[in-house]
Amino acid sequence: MRYLSWAYLLALFAFILLPVVTLVIFSFQDGRLPVPPFKGATLDWYREILTDRALMEALANSLIVALLSALVALTLGFLAASGLARVALPGSVVMRGLLIAPMTVSYLIIALGLLQMFNKVGIRPSLLATGIGHVVINLPLCFAILYAAIGEHQKSALKAARDLGAKEWQVLWFVAAPMLTPALAAAFFLAFTFSWDEFIIAFLLTRFDVTLPVEIWSMLRSGLSPATNAVGSLVFLVSVIVVVALELTLFRKGSK
């Protein structure tokens, strides 16, 4: 039984990680095609993509969009969560439901809706439009994480702060935000990665300046190349860094 469960664990990890491992290995392929056999290692493809202007611009765009949209989603989610946690308004259940609802809608539908709406109000497909789209998908996530993190303990500390003379912005800045740091970090990193990886909304809402996933897609149209593997590996590396940062900030706090 013992060996069987170890075997199962290994099979499971292989299933999950093999595609990524293959991707990374063949990004070093010394040849024209990222398929077996492996002909030897080279860093040529990395040199090629790192000197590719369009690709590097897309990478920078992705970083900016992910960073700003995550910050906006986090701020809005934080304000909504602390507001709804503070007072019981008539219909606050409905309001919570409405805030979380976009999570259940597919990105494609959201993207189509935004595309039509932006057309009407005259916002051209651009990084700004994509950023707004990413706020739309990440706000429910940030709200849900933060709302769940505000317990009785937090509520009563917030009440004490008001009692001691704090204005509402001071309550949020000096007490609520520091007390919710782990949840804020979790929400921010998740929102960041979701925006960083997101393709459908970015594809439909960008035109000249594109984000990295859209650029990779256009590379793929011209056929497989170890260069796309190299880009994929870099994207994967960024995601890994974010996840490790998340582990370090959150699970450190949790174990204390």
């Binding site: 303990h153 009563s156 702060a161 009692d163 001691l164 003379g165 704090a166 007490v175 520091p178 007390m179």
Partner: protein, 341 residues
């Protein structure tokens, strides 16, 4: 530093439930008032109304003569010490205590000095740099007190602050609270359901039940001369004997008693029944006795009314043997109009 509080005909309703029925209460400046009652009696609602966390459905709250009914908590001259302490976990004790001053725009040096002075008062000055999670429950309690007093409120509101502490620590904190209140002179309004705690610390006790004030008076008055059956029972154990006037005294199931003529229920505390002194309660048999350390708790069956049991607390070493027949005497009689209770 201190102010009187005037509650004028305050009524509060939560949807269909009326938590407070036209409560009137005058609290003097510098008084230590305890709101006492069972859970659901409206004491916490009343405290929240004084603190500004609730706006009463009707009536007015005046603090220091100014109408505060619709003023937000942050703009009232009150601070609250919460049941769960509500300390800020991410701040040192110094910053916790100095928080209220910081919100009032006091500079860092001045507020740190004040915070240290307050921590000194509660005996925690050496821990100013620590975080709340490094402290014990009793110490957190003291920090909460220091934090609430650092802004020099006119009125300090205490919401069952000692509820989470063990008995010994609670007794010790009661004494400290009382001493600190004398020192700072601030009006304290303290909520509890523990009548011993109320008697230990209060200048005046407000006994509440079902959203009404049952009795308001000094601990002695409330305990020895209760105005209602509810406050008589809530403040401690009582023996009840129905009485009716007859001649110069009263008649009762125990026979004629030599007390002022009155109609109602005679209430006698167990420690006010003894073997000598006072008015005779007639002869009775000891049916059960237990030693409680500072007294013997004895149950007597009166000869005149064998279906009744009188509970008496007799001094150490001074109780008759089981089955012995003795004459009982009562002191400090209180006759209350009987009610359906």
């Amino acid at each position: 530093m201190t102010a009187d509080v005037h509650i004028k005909a305050v009524e509060h309703r939560f949807k269909a439930f009326t938590a407070l029925h036209r409560v009137d209460l005058q609290i003097g400046a510098g008084e230590f008032i305890v709101l006492l009652g069972p859970s659901g009696c409206g004491k916490t609602t009343l405290l929240s109304i004084i603190g500004g966390f609730l706006t009463p459905s009707e009536g007015q709250v005046l603090i220091g003569g100014r109408d505060m009914t619709h003023v937000a908590p942050k703009d009232r001259p009150t601070t609250t010490m919460f049941q769960d302490y509500a300390l800020f976990p991410h701040m040192s004790l110094r910053d916790n205590v100095g928080f209220g001053l910081r919100m009032r725009g006091v500079g860092r040096a001045a507020r740190n000095a004040k915070a240290l002075e307050m921590l000194e008062m509660v005996g925690l000055a050496d821990k100013a740099g620590r975080r709340p999670h490094e402290l014990s429950g009793g110490q957190r309690q003291r920090v909460a007190l220091a934090r609430a007093l650092a802004v020099e409120p006119d009125v300090l509101l205490l919401d069952e602050p000692l509820g989470a502490l063990d008995l010994k620590l609670r007794r010790q904190m009661q004494e400290e609270l009382k001493a600190i209140q004398r020192r700072v002179g601030t009006t304290f309004v303290h909520v509890t359901h523990d009548q011993e705690e109320a008697m230990a610390i209060a200048d005046r006790i407000v006994v509440m039940n079902h959203g009404r004030v049952e009795h308001c008076g000094s601990p002695e008055e409330v305990y020895l001369r209760p105005r209602t059956m509810f406050s008589a029972d809530f403040m401690g154990e009582t023996n009840r004997v129905p009485v009716t006037p007859s001649g110069g005294g009263v008649s009762s199931p125990l026979g004629p008693l030599a007390i002022a003529p009155a109609e109602g229920m005679l209430c006698l505390r167990p420690e006010n029944i003894g073997l000598a002194e006072g008015f005779s309660l007639g002869r009775a048999t000891l049916v059960e006795a237990a030693f409680y350390g500072s007294y013997h708790r004895c149950h007597f069956r009166p000869l005149a009314a064998p279906d009744m049991l009188l509970t008496a607390h007799l001094p150490q070493g001074a109780h008759p043997g089981l089955g012995d027949e003795v004459e009982l005497f009562g002191r400090n009689p209180a006759v209350l109009a009987s009610e359906a209770a």
